[in-house]
Subunit: 365 residues, 2 copies
């Protein structure tokens, strides 16, 4: 009992919301799960109320202070807060982490600010091809869609794939046929037109014409910063101690050949397991697939017994950096420890816990 | 030096080819890599010649002795041997594990016996939608394709994605446009017609009409055995100590909605990392995605320090069985230890090492 009580004190200490803006890149080391329960975080549920909450991201990249107008920055902060509170309402009412991450992602999908849903970037052909995935940490059930072009909220379709089909991943026209059958909201392609993203495509094509596709994109998948912002995602822990993760994206501006990124790949951009953690990622997707980022973080937590923060640091700040991949992740473990780790200069992000006080941040410092 | 010598003896002992048919499901426990080098298998390369070789599978499922004619069984054994030796020739000549796994998979893709390439099963719409992936354990480079319909050897396209694009995964028509650009061999859809697979589709549709799609397929993704045989794959370790993995499949008979299985999902059906192991999987793909089978086996080897055999047992014989997923994997570690682990009654499989003596097997006993 003394062990549990001291663990609880530690937990309060390890949700330092004030640290969000100060050191979000490598948050204060949270309690190592094994310090609480030698058998791992999964066994804690029965004896302790989870430190429930939700964490979101709206993309990582070079986001320098001063690169946005104050109005634009305020818009982002307001929308991140709205998404957080949509998730919080679900959790506060005793809803599931699955419902919470979906609600939060829906808010960001419906906003033109993020590269998901409404604000998705354009492919080389001037289309919008959307990817999304969701995973239930309690059952390891998962659903994912890739390359859908008429689905208003791809995360809702991913959820339907998980719950209403015997499959995990559906792609393209087939996925849309399933969406139609399930009554998922479809929209005309024109719904996804935003002037800002169209300009990004025009610029990308102009650069390509000037420098050549290969020179521009390079062997190391380097993508100009203004083209890869904005994948959205959420992870949550509900009052029942269940974790969930969700990610939704439009991919990369000027993408072609039916490119699929890490977001819909279970284990790469999205993963949740009550035994270890829930992760949603954003960044240069190819590296996140090759490094199986989301599952690797959780595997280190489960098999090495390291803290969530340490596992995230090892993967995002070391492994990915050595490979040349940039981006970040948000994660929660079954105790409610949070990680928002990124190796770029900024990541749109936020979190809110049981106290209902949302905190959002954009830059590293 | 004494340590190395005794380790080498152990290694000879742990490639008991005679055990292939006797206990392939859980091969004799190989030397734990850490018994050789406390810092893990990756560090062994510099001081020891790798026990090079190649391992293949042609699908797992209910394969009861007597369910095939002796002629059919002989055909399978001959084709598995041919595939093994295609890979062996590459390795013996000092070629890369990547080239070896591709050569072996090509042989199986070109045969009507397996559910990949030529022998791919039919979708609900009477098409053949092929998935494949390849991964380089040295660099963690990877390539994957999903839902291609005109590519004779999908593994060749996956390799081109890995080496000639900045992407890891391409899907559908976009992937085929890339194939065309790269000069990958395309064939008319009629190339993939085989009477045997068409009959399987007809039977599947008849069953569906009789019992209903939901009753038949059920909430637990149970797929009649005759519809899920034959995904092919290979893992290899070359003379330079580099691992590679490759998987190619036509998916599941009567699949619809653009379903993507585990084969092209890096970390699920295919994964390779010189630090831990190379894995190719076959089975009910949805479970393999949810359990991130390939990466999970390698993560246990790397982070828990258990042997390849123990890691494969934990994932295939315990975790997957508890979830309800059936199938199997082939795997190699950087020392040349081999695992061919399956929780079904059979798996088409084989392996060959430096001695050039191929061993193939089908049934568990």
């Amino acid at each position: 009992m003394r062990l549990l009580r001291s663990a609880r004190r530690l937990l309060v200490h390890t949700l330092p919301f004030a640290a969000l803006s100060a050191a979000a890149c490598t948050p204060a080391r949270p309690a190592t799960p094994s310090a609480v329960a030698p058998t791992g975080p999964a066994s804690v549920h029965a004896t302790q109320l989870p430190n429930w909450g939700i964490v979101i991201h709206g993309g990582a990249g070079t986001i320098a202070r001063g690169s946005m107008t104050p109005e634009m920055e305020a818009e982002y902060r307001a929308k991140l807060t709205e998404a957080l509170m949509a998730g919080h309402r679900v959790l506060a009412a005793g809803g599931s982490s699955l419902d919470a991450v979906q609600a939060a992602v829906n808010v960001m999908e419906d906003s033109p600010l993020f590269n998901a849903g409404k604000g998705a970037v354009f492919t080389h052909e001037g289309k919008n091809e959307l990817d999304a995935a969701v995973m239930d940490g309690r059952t390891l059930a998962a659903g994912a869609v890739a390359g859908v072009t008429h689905v208003k909220n791809p995360i809702n379709l991913a959820r339907a794939v998980m719950e209403k089909s015997r499959h995990v991943m559906l792609m393209g026209a087939g996925a849309e046929a399933f969406a139609k059958q399930q009554g998922i909201e479809l929209v005309p392609e024109s719904y996804f037109f935003t002037e800002r993203r169209w300009q990004s495509l025009e610029k990308a094509k102009a650069d390509e014409a000037k420098y050549g596709a290969e020179a521009l994109l390079g062997p190391e998948y380097s993508v100009p910063e203004d083209r890869k912002f904005g994948t959205v995602g959420a992870v949550a822990l509900d009052k029942n101690g269940n974790l969930a993760a969700a990610t939704s994206t439009g991919g990369v501006t000027n993408k072609r050949w039916g490119r699929v990124g890490d977001a819909p790949i279970i284990g790469a951009g999205t993963y949740a397991n009550n035994r270890s953690c829930a992760v949603s990622a954003t960044g240069t997707g190819e590296y996140f697939i090759r490094a199986t980022v989301a599952h690797d973080i959780c595997a280190r937590v489960e098999y090495q017994g390291v803290s969530l923060a340490e596992a995230a640091d090892q993967v995002v700040m070391k492994k990915l950096v050595e490979m040349g991949g940039d981006g970040g992740i948000i994660a929660m473990d079954p105790l409610g420890n949070v990680s928002m780790t990124f190796n770029t200069s900024g990541m749109y992000r936020g979190r809110v816990g049981a106290d209902g006080k949302p905190e959002v941040a954009i830059y590293r410092d």
